[in-house]
């Protein structure tokens, strides 16, 4: 069933272009049907999953290597899978309308659904390799989506940056998974996670952890890899909304949550998650202060939110994990809404700079109401679900096992900054005084459906949070922190220190807004003065440096002189062959077993040697060709002497053809010229002799080293199994016919190549 759902989405991604051309008007609605059905089918499993029944499916993938493709739906997968498909269908509805003004939307929808399917596969994967494959799929599809407006250099750069960083992380992750396999002997997640002691006692613990962390941090835009995410806003708004809320960046969070039980006993794990998480949380919030671009503000708050999530996973207390799951949902809801709204604003007003728009509530009341509610959720103000999650985060901070003070302080500041950002968007963009001559209109219903639904859910869950605990949170929590239990969520906790903190946050945020001009000036001054580092620029500097290095290296190694390439190859080959003779001793009885050369073979050999020398020294091309044909003839005679009848016939015919061909071609070419001087000839003679001598040794060694031969099987069974008496022919057309098939294909290609070379006429320059 899980596989069917997953395949359904992948098939949809293939069909998406068709559906889009079939009806451009309703493509969004049509496309969202399948993900929505998947969402429903997953949702009806909620009671089962919370009852502890997990559906697992296994398919053999490459059984010879022990690779299994397996899927599993447990509490943790479920919460992510519901987000992916639920928000995904809403995004599709939105995108259907939003993308109308774009070209090549068919392709776009294909990518977007593929992205969704990959993400679903990632969270459903029940073994590390399956997970990894989908992990890379999400990197690839997000690359295509971020770079969708590929005519713009910024989009291409952002896409490349995202791909390189997440690709690097993917490689690290793969290495980590392979190390895990070395420890456990299986890729199966359940086995690995069920037995954390084995890893804890293994020396590979630290390498595995570092590699997994690199993988997760790059994907989830955690400092110092955070910079690709703001760049990724080059993508069309539906993609940003999806990428920031339910997919891509959440993949890293999912992985950390999934592997938490495995490594949480290690202090390193706890410290690195907390440290990087808290720092990212703060940096993201801080960076959002000075941004003016609506999407950039949102992007940096996402960075901050991701930091918060990582920090909460790292704390590994009941409070923290509980808070993390609630915040995950909250953030997905409001971030998707706000990005879609940012897209709407850009569409209707032509800009998304905060200081260029204002008073939108007059023109688009519905959109403004939706956005304001989402912003309330982002600021953590009742009655939205965001309020509950912020309370939980503070509670987790107070109860943090270590460094509670710092976590609390930075958390407080980050929340205040984010509240400031929300206030700016709310008060400057939607409220405030109108600044338009031409009145922007309310966005179309397709553009508002998704945001409206998300906000309503957010509001309802804020008012009635109790239902969440049993159905979604508890089943997920036990997979992040075994044995933990979620608290009953309530909107109102009574008067306590946490409420005080919440209140203080709001006060701080409002104060910042009142002194907006000064705050912004101060922060930009500080940024200029103290935080000059531009990670993105640094990254591209690194790439440029690498390119420079490779071009220099290429200029040295690839000098363009063909014969020196070959010389390098043969000299190196000679050295390597010589090395194989190190320590080789011929067997003692060897001398007796050697046969003396017969007279006929001596004659044939002489023919070969003489005609070869003639070729080497020939001044005329024709002489060279004919004598090389004679060399071939000599070899053919040796074939006859040693029982190779078919070979000899073929050889002699092939040689004849070769001479004819050569003669025809060579007569179109100018005469031989003497290009090289004596010195280089002497040098080449030395190289050639050394190589030839070594090859002679190698040949001799292979003759005198009889191993068991598989040919005996062919000889015995040639007639019994294949009804043929000519064993060579039977091998060619029966025993090893597949090889022959490949070989005749090569012949076909050679013929095509020749035909193309002769018949294709290039334009004269």
């Amino acid at each position: 069933m899980l596989l069917t759902l997953l395949l359904g989405l992948f098939v949809l991604s293939l069909l998406a272009p068709l559906i889009n051309t079939f009806s451009r008007r309703f493509s969004g609605w049509l496309l969202s049907v399948v993900p929505f059905i998947v969402f429903i089918l997953l949702a009806v499993k909620i009671p089962q999953v919370s009852g502890g029944y997990y559906s697992t499916e296994e398919y053999s993938w490459i059984p010879e290597l022990g690779l299994i493709f397996s899927l599993r739906l447990d509490g943790l997968s479920q919460i992510f899978a519901l987000l992916v498909t639920g928000i995904g269908s809403l995004i599709l509805i939105y995108a259907g309308y939003y993308m109308r003004s774009y070209d090549k939307t068919s392709r776009f929808f294909g990518y977007l659904v593929f992205f969704m399917a990959s993400m679903l596969g990632l969270v459903l994967a029940a073994d590390l390799l399956t997970l990894f494959v989908f992990w890379e799929f999400t990197s690839l599809s997000s690359f295509l989506l971020i770079g969708f407006k590929h005519e713009r250099p910024e989009a291409r750069q952002a896409a490349l940056q995202a791909l390189l960083i997440t690709g690097l992380g993917g490689l690290a992750l793969l290495a980590g998974f392979i190390l895990l396999y070395k420890v456990y002997g299986t890729f199966e997640l359940a086995t690995i996670i069920g037995n954390p002691e084995l890893l804890a006692s293994s020396p590979l613990l630290l390498p595995v952890m570092i590699l997994v962390l690199i993988g997760a941090f790059t994907k989830s835009a955690i400092f110092p890899f955070h910079f690709w995410l703001p760049g990724a806003m080059q993508a069309p708004s539906p993609v940003s909304a999806y990428l920031h809320s339910a997919t891509m960046v959440k993949a890293g969070i999912y992985l950390l949550a999934r592997l938490n039980p495995l490594m949480m006993s290690s202090e390193w794990w706890v410290y690195s998650l907390s440290l990087f998480g808290v720092f990212t949380m703060f940096v993201g919030a801080w960076m959002s202060i000075t941004q003016n671009d609506l999407k950039k503000v949102l992007a940096y708050t996402t960075v901050s939110a991701l930091g918060t999530l990582v920090m909460l996973i790292g704390s590994s207390t009941d409070f923290a994990v509980n808070a993390m799951l609630v915040f995950l949902l909250v953030h997905a809801f409001y971030k998707a809404t706000l990005f879609m709204m940012a897209g709407n604003i850009e569409k209707k007003t032509g800009t998304r700079m905060i200081d260029e728009v204002g008073g939108l509530y007059r023109y688009m009341p519905v959109a403004s109401a939706i956005s304001l509610l989402a912003l309330l959720s982002m600021s953590g103000i009742p009655p939205m679900l965001g309020f509950i999650s912020k309370e939980l985060i503070y509670e987790a901070g107070i109860n943090a096992p270590s460094a509670a003070g710092i976590i609390l302080l930075l958390g407080f500041l980050s929340n205040a900054f984010i509240l400031f950002a929300s206030a700016r968007i709310a008060l400057d963009v939607f409220l405030g005084k109108p600044m338009f001559e031409k009145q922007p209109k309310e966005p179309d219903i397709s553009l508002l459906t998704g945001p409206a639904i998300l906000v309503i859910i957010s509001l309802l869950l804020g008012l009635l949070p109790g239902r969440l605990t049993d159905s979604l949170l508890n089943p997920a929590m036990i997979h992040i922190l075994p044995g933990s239990e979620a608290m009953k969520l309530k909107l109102w906790h009574g008067f306590n220190d946490i409420l005080l903190l919440s209140f203080l946050t709001i006060v701080a945020g409002v104060l910042m807004y009142i002194f907006k001009a000064r705050v912004t000036a101060l922060v930009s001054y500080a940024n200029l003065k103290y935080f000059k580092a531009r990670f993105s620029d640094g990254f591209f500097g690194l790439i440029d440096g690498f390119m420079y290095l490779t071009s220099r290296k290429t200029a040295i190694v690839q000098h363009g002189y063909h014969r020196f390439y070959l010389m390098t190859i043969f000299v190196v080959a000679s050295v390597l062959i010589a090395l194989t003779f190190y320590g080789w001793k011929p067997k003692a009885e060897l001398a007796q077993n050697l046969q003396a050369p017969t007279f006929t073979v001596l004659v044939f050999g002489t023919l070969i040697v003489v005609s070869t020398i003639t070729t080497l020294l020939a001044k005329s091309r024709l002489v060279a060709l004919i004598s090389i044909g004679l060399t071939g003839l000599g070899i053919g005679l040796i074939f006859i002497e040693y029982s190779g009848i078919d070979l000899a016939i073929t050889m002699i015919m092939v040689e004849t053809m070769m001479v004819v061909l050569g003669t025809i071609v060579v007569f179109h070419l100018p005469r031989y010229l003497d290009f090289s001087d004596l010195r280089s000839r002497q040098r080449d003679v030395v190289i050639a002799s050394v190589f030839g001598l070594l090859m002679a040794f190698l040949a001799f060694r292979s003759f005198t080293n009889p191993e068991t031969k598989i040919s005996e099987y062919f000889v015995e069974n040639s007639y019994l199994l294949a009804y043929g008496k000519n064993v060579v022919n039977v091998i060619l057309v029966d025993f090893r016919a597949l090889d022959t098939l490949g070989e005749i294909t090569v012949l076909l290609l050679a013929a095509f190549g020749i035909y193309a070379l002769l018949k294709l006429k290039t334009e004269p320059k």
Binding site: T650, V654, K725, L732, T740, I744, I754
Partner: protein
């Protein structure tokens, strides 16, 4: 360009070489010969003819193009490999044999390897003629 004797000899040689090459192909399974050798022989027959009368005329005198020979050859070879999986005998390229009773009492064995060999024969013939024709036209 070519001498009269060569012309006459080459024109006469073509059918002889073709028949001979078919014999070589057929007997290849049990005696020296086979698709590769037969193919080269047949190719040589065509090439000799083209040398004698010119490529243009040689091309016209053949109803099947060299390229089609190659395509047909590859097709035969592939088809021969598909017998086994489709008849459920074995994997791709596994040999399938059957015995046909001839009216005068004896029987001949026919099998997919023979078809495969015929494919090789056709492909090699096509390759040699198409290469040589192309080069001689230059």
């Amino acid at each position: 360009m070519a001498s009269e004797i060569f012309k006459i000899a080459a024109v006469q040689l073509r059918p002889i070489l073709l028949v001979l090459s078919l014999i070589v192909l057929y007997r290849g399974h049990n005696e020296p010969g086979g698709g590769f050798i037969g193919g080269i022989m047949a190719g040589m027959g065509f090439v000799l003819y083209a040398m004698a009368v010119g490529v243009e005329k040689a091309r016209k005198s053949r109803t099947i193009k060299p390229v089609s020979f190659m395509g047909l050859g590859l097709f035969f070879a592939l088809i021969s490999g598909l017998f086994a999986p489709f008849s459920g005998v074995g994997l791709f390229m596994q040999g399938v044999w059957t015995e046909i009773e001839l009216p005068w009492g004896s029987a001949i064995k026919l099998g997919t390897p023979l078809l495969f060999d015929a494919g090789v024969y056709l492909l090699v013939t096509g390759m040699i003629t198409s290469i040589m024709y192309a080069i001689m036209e230059e």
